[in-house]
């Protein structure tokens, strides 16, 4: 929340500042010399859309409906083509209005199929995609084949073409995005509540259905304003990928929303920059690839949830566990004789030898002197150092305490955790390691 509010305020300010064209032009034109004013405004508009899509998408992800906009996104194509045929104009407002109508019709069709037929959700989505996108493709290629003036640009709505946007279009996108972000920030608490515990929300009197419908409508709106940049086929990615990437870095909703917005904006900007350098390339795929790179980076390298961090942590925990067990073995071995033992006495197998190196490294065992057994093989005697002895005894005390507590526990609890130290603890630990 703390990140969202200023972010949205800045966007609103930017949108209003840019619409007051002379001052906006000077300010931004001076900020980045050498870049045409129009390109700059378009870049800001697309970035705003990316940001808002990430923000709205985070809520959809938390609500466990990340693909809710996919069917609607495909259906928008029919709306764009239909609006062009009806109005005969190609200004963004009428095309996007048509797209919004088609998106809502698509969502309505989804609900209708679910309500009145036996068809399941997944097939219903496929049917809406097939109908909406098929109609869109048929209309667009029919318009293109007939050479209707202005109809050529409709193909840009398939994969996105940010370069076709004018400064006015970009201001429209910015205004809608700012409104969407403001709405999310305004109702973030309610959306979060519904996402995490819908039945509690309903029981405490929050309008869960209304909030869900608001969320779906917001997604539909973001799908529609994402069309010019990302295209009908890939605009879903704008809503799914940045939140997934952001989710890897945080467990707080406010941070998640802000991060997803930031990454959405960054990916959208990358798309605009790359495609302005290579004009033949559609914008949508580039934006998606940029977002996918962030996502891959996050999944691999984010410190807490990332694959790399978790793998390293799990390995460290396994090593520490094995070292502890070896310490126990050493204590038992030293109690059997004169307090000394050989490496071969206490280690068997690769894991134990690795654990031995840990003990040695931490100074828990110390080497005494060389002695020869039956005169031939030189054997090196070791004993636990003072610290090692302390730690081993502490471990033993703790195990005994556990066993005592276990004996006092009710029978039902004992059955659930058949704690037979230490072998069973090893099994438990292996299970726990796998589970993490």
């Amino acid at each position: 929340m703390s990140g969202g509010l200023p972010c949205s305020a800045a966007l609103v300010a930017a949108a209003s500042g840019l619409s007051a064209s002379p001052t906006g032009s000077t300010v931004i034109g001076m900020a980045v010399p050498g870049v045409p004013y129009n390109t700059l405004v378009v870049a800001c508009g697309v970035a705003a859309v990316g940001c808002a899509a990430g923000v709205v998408g985070s809520l959809a992800l938390l609500r466990k409906r990340p693909l809710v906009g996919d069917a609607a996104a495909h259906a928008t194509l029919a709306g764009v083509a239909g609006a062009f045929l009806l109005t005969g104009r190609r200004d963004l407002v009428s095309l996007l209005t048509g797209a919004l109508v088609a998106a809502l019709v698509g969502l309505g069709a989804l609900v209708l199929v679910r309500r009145v037929t036996r068809t399941r959700d997944d097939a219903a989505t496929a049917i809406v995609i097939g109908g909406g996108f098929g109609l869109g493709i048929a209309l667009v290629s029919g318009i293109t084949a007939r050479g209707i003036p202005g109809g050529g640009g409709l193909e840009h709505f398939l994969l996105g073409h940010a370069a076709a946007l004018t400064a006015d279009d970009a201001r429209l996108l910015m205004a809608v995005s700012a409104a969407a972000i403001a709405l999310v920030v305004f109702a973030l608490k309610e959306f979060t509540l519904v996402a995490f515990d819908a039945s509690f929300a309903a029981a405490t009197g929050w309008p869960v259905v209304l909030l869900d419908q608001a969320l779906v409508t917001l997604v539909a709106v973001m799908v529609v304003v994402g069309l010019p940049a990302a295209g009908a086929v890939l605009v879903t990615a704008l809503i799914v990928i940045p939140p997934v990437a952001a989710r890897q870095w945080t467990d707080r909703v406010g941070t998640l929303v802000a991060l997803a917005g930031g990454w959405g904006a960054a990916a959208a900007l990358a798309g605009v920059v790359v495609t302005s350098a290579r004009p033949g390339l559609p914008t949508g795929p580039v934006i998606v690839l940029a977002a996918a790179c962030f996502c891959l980076l996050s999944v691999v390298a984010s410190p807490r949830r990332g694959w790399l961090g978790r793998t390293l942590r799990a390995a460290a925990e396994r090593r520490a566990w094995a070292a502890g067990l070896l310490l126990d073995t050493c204590l038992r071995a030293s109690e059997r004789g004169d307090g000394t033992f050989t490496v071969a006495d206490v280690t068997d197998g690769r894991t134990a030898r690795a654990a031995w190196r840990t003990l040695e490294h931490e100074g828990l065992v110390e080497r005494l002197h060389e002695r020869t057994a039956d005169g031939r093989v030189p054997r090196v005697a070791w004993r636990l150092s003072g610290r090692g002895l302390d730690r081993a005894r502490q471990r033993r005390r703790r195990a005994a305490d556990w066993a005592a507590a276990f004996d006092r526990a009710p029978a039902a609890a004992r059955e659930r955790f058949s704690l037979d130290l230490p072998e069973c603890a090893i099994a438990t630990d292996a299970g726990a390691t796998r589970a993490t």
């Binding site: 068809t119 989505t125 049917i127 799914v240 580039v286 996502c295």
Partner: protein, 416 residues
């Protein structure tokens, strides 16, 4: 044949039909597994595989392209599972990330390599059915379109694999745990379906483009599923729907001068809508008609029972409670069941007695078993009286003591 305009269209229609049949066959299994969107994901995700294979010199529609597509499909599923394992990501979110990214990569590859390969972003989205007849190979002295040859090979392969493994597929689809316990290699069966989906997808790719493949896969099966219940019949009907949709869609697209892929998808969805409306058992029309029939029967029976009760108590019948009951009263007069102000013909009396008998039997049964106060017996009986048949009435009567009336002390009419 391929050198005349009509022959061209026939080849294109034949190719579209064969491809649609192959997709519908695979799609049936996806639909009953509730994995339709896997078809969507694979349809998008095979694009980079196809693009790279073509860029590396493979012929579109050649074996290498199919191999690359299957590899891509397996990579997609593997990535989704890896995302779930590594990032704890739900399957739908993971699929949303993976297939859009792979599709984007495919579009970028196709666009950047467009100068070197005859594959561009528009044929990815529209399909290239119209171009299929121009690229021919001689087969037994006849020039046959290459696209037709490869799709026919795909269909033949899929049928050849599907027929002997159908039972395994059905078992794994409906009861994976049971199948595993019975020794069916469920993972292999699933992977096989995945590969089949990828192969069908590549074939469908030429006809309708990457995005609309999902329509070819899913929509015919979803429509067929509304009409028949045995899975092999669903599959056969889905194939029929798909072929019909392909033919009609192509002809309409030709007539309207637009993309065949788009129109085929729309025709398939139209077939689904017709099936959903007109399915004999649970189509919308049948459901509404059933409800209307039932409401009409209830109104008639209520009216008859009201007149019968009035005759029993020598009073005037209760006035109708709804417009429908008014209408039912008028209709019963027209049919001669109700005669005069408030009396019944012999047939009307018999029908009314069965309704009242059901009502009072149910009241008696409730009074005996449900321990309800007297004034709570009427409303449930008012509902149940329309649902009890002769057998149920006899069983209730046998359980109650004979010769006794209902809890209100009124006589229960005998069975007719």
């Amino acid at each position: 044949m391929a050198d005349t305009a009509g022959g061209m269209h026939l080849w294109a229609i034949a190719t579209a039909s064969v491809v649609a049949a192959a997709c519908a066959l695979v799609g049936t299994l996806l639909v009953v597994r509730r994995q339709s969107l896997l078809g969507d994901a694979i349809g998008h995700a095979v694009l980079p595989g196809i693009a790279l294979a073509v860029l590396a010199g493979a012929r579109p529609g050649g074996v290498a392209v199919f191999g690359a597509a299957v590899a891509c499909a397996l990579v997609t599923v593997g990535l989704v599972q890896a995302l779930r394992a590594a990032a704890g990501l739900a399957e739908d979110a993971g699929a949303g990330v993976v297939f859009t990214s792979l599709f984007a990569a495919g579009v970028v590859i196709v666009t950047l390599g467009a100068s070197r390969i005859d594959l561009d972003a528009s044929c990815v989205l529209y399909g290239i059915l119209e171009m299929v007849p121009f690229d021919t190979v001689p087969v037994g002295g006849v020039e046959v379109p290459r696209g037709f040859v490869s799709s026919a090979a795909v269909l033949a392969t899929l049928v050849a694999v599907a027929v002997p493994t159908w039972k395994l597929q059905v078992f794994s689809a409906f009861d994976p745990d049971g199948a595993r316990a019975a020794g069916v290699p469920v993972a292999a069966v699933t992977t096989g379906l995945l590969a089949a989906t990828a192969v069908a997808t590549v074939a469908g790719f030429e006809v309708v483009g990457a995005v609309l493949v999902v329509a070819l896969l899913v929509v015919p099966a979803a429509a067929a599923e509304l009409l028949v219940h045995r899975l092999h019949r669903v599959a056969l009907l889905a194939v029929a729907f798909a072929v019909g949709g392909a033919i009609v869609g192509y002809l309409l697209a030709y007539r309207w001068n637009t993309s065949a892929g788009g129109v085929i998808a729309v025709v398939l969805v139209a077939e689904y809508v017709v099936a959903a409306l007109l399915a004999p058992e649970d189509g919308c029309v049948a459901q509404v008609a059933g409800r209307i029939r039932f409401a009409w029967r209830v109104a008639r029976e209520d009216r008859l029972a009201a007149v019968w009760r009035a005759m029993e108590q020598r009073g005037t019948p209760a006035s109708p409670r709804s417009a429908l009951e008014h209408l039912a009263g008028w209709w019963l007069r027209v049919r001669g069941r109700i005669v005069g102000a408030a009396s019944l013909s012999a047939a009307g009396r018999r029908e009314a007695e069965m309704v009242v008998r059901s009502h009072r039997l149910w009241e008696a049964w409730l009074g005996r078993h449900a321990d309800l106060p007297l004034d709570h017996l009427h409303p449930p009986a008012e509902w149940v009286e329309h649902h009890l048949g002769e057998a149920a009435r006899r069983r209730i009567e046998a359980e109650l003591e004979h010769g006794r009336g209902d809890p209100h002390g009124r006589e229960i009419p005998p069975e007719a």
